[in-house]
Point group: C2
Chain length 255, copies 2
């Protein structure tokens, strides 16, 4: 049995305030937890059904495993379908790495929806982006909905949150791009495919700080005239299209 105190403590981790205070977050489901273990991610404890532990954790493995009944897992899970396992993980500060001019660093600006941030992390991981930086008004990556949408990619790629003025300096001192509605056509513009790419929530638009500090503003052209058709694309799908185009140019463009 998990016990009332442990249940309450884990339930609190559904909230940002307690995640930051306790420096812990939760990750759920067999695939994600096995990947956490495989990658050596710092885990405080694993909470799972007795069957799950028996099936997946060798007895000699040095992991704190706490047995729980399914109804207890239901109480502590954020998922619609209660999983058989949940890991309480350490939430450590991510430190920024030096910008690699040959690679693409992604800057995420003001993305408040955790599902969108998780999808962006998954996309950036897919295309081998070595680093994601984020403005402080972007949702925390440890949000359970972000963890879920990232499908395990948060294990390899955790955004590093930075002050706006630090990000501005990085944009000024490196090759840098921002995605916005009124920029150069991303398919026909000339640019080097390494540097910094800033993407921002479509509902807030690009922050002026980036508008004035990046070297180039790029857009995904629409088939419609500007006063017809959709006003914008969702930030996660637009980020996917930009990352794809940068990736294509770097590795597959005919010279």
């Amino acid at each position: 049995m998990l016990g009332k105190n442990r249940i309450q403590r884990i339930q609190k981790l559904h909230q940002k305030k307690y995640r930051l205070q306790e420096k812990r977050f939760i990750a759920e489901g067999t695939k994600t937890v096995l990947e956490l273990i495989k990658q050596g991610f710092p885990i405080e404890s694993i909470v799972a059904t007795a069957d799950w532990i028996k099936q997946h954790i060798p007895e000699n493995q040095e992991l704190i495993c706490v047995e729980a009944e399914k109804f207890e897992l239901e109480k502590i899970s954020c998922l619609q379908t209660t999983p058989d396992v949940l890991a309480v993980c350490e939430l450590n500060q991510v430190t920024p790495q030096k910008i690699d001019a040959g690679q693409l660093t992604l800057v995420v600006d003001a993305v408040r929806d955790p599902g969108n941030l998780g999808t962006i992390i998954r996309l950036a991981d897919w295309f081998g982006v070595p680093q994601i930086l984020a403005t402080e008004d972007t949702v925390e990556w440890s949000n359970p909905k972000c963890i879920q949408a990232s499908m395990g990619s948060f294990i390899r790629l955790q955004p590093c949150y930075m002050q706006l003025d630090e990000l501005e300096t990085l944009c000024r001192t490196n090759n840098s791009f921002a995605a916005d509605l009124d920029g150069e056509n991303v398919y026909s513009a000339s640019f080097d495919s390494g540097g910094i790419l800033v993407v921002s929530s479509e509902s807030h638009g690009l922050n002026q700080v980036f508008q004035r500090s990046v070297k180039q503003i790029l857009s995904i052209p629409s088939a419609h005239a500007s006063d017809e058709g959709p006003e914008s694309l969702n930030v996660a799908t637009a980020t996917g299209i930009f990352l794809s185009e940068f990736y294509r140019r770097k590795y597959f463009a005919k010279s």
Copy 2:
């Protein structure tokens, strides 16, 4: 006042069964409802606060407008933030159009998540896809979460649901592609950018019917080796990347 009966009738439209039975669906929020009116979409009635009606509907407009209090709108809304207006719209059968070989027709296979379908409709609309066809195990586009995610694009582009064998015939008799994990690299493969593109839910994988009937299978390459990194991309973001690449080739590729 809206009244109990009307409230119950609209609440029932949150469910697929009643939408199909009543041939009605709901669309919410000022932007969407004004676009519905502008485009002449068949609307049964508009339910809105007195202020909203006064502000947006000229007295001579032939639209049935029902005044509602905010607490009544809260009861009939599917949104987290209750809107000031909601339209009860007619749900009509979409008829398939002839495949245009010079354009890209999108086939959506087994996409069960309404948010994903809505995002796909928005993307297809952005890139000027003239027609979306869908397998019958794809979620209905009139689902409130799909309507919301499509951000008004459902007004211009409603998927037409078809039997699997009809879709198979279309794939066999036209230039056709499917997106899958083990196909030709979409960035380097040769292909004509018109025809049919089949996309399917990443959790179910590509249906064998399409695997055997399309002319070409295409993939988005990952930066990771096949046993590392993310297993797949979300179907909506992958669709965005494919549509982008087809669009780029059609209009912006250097010959």
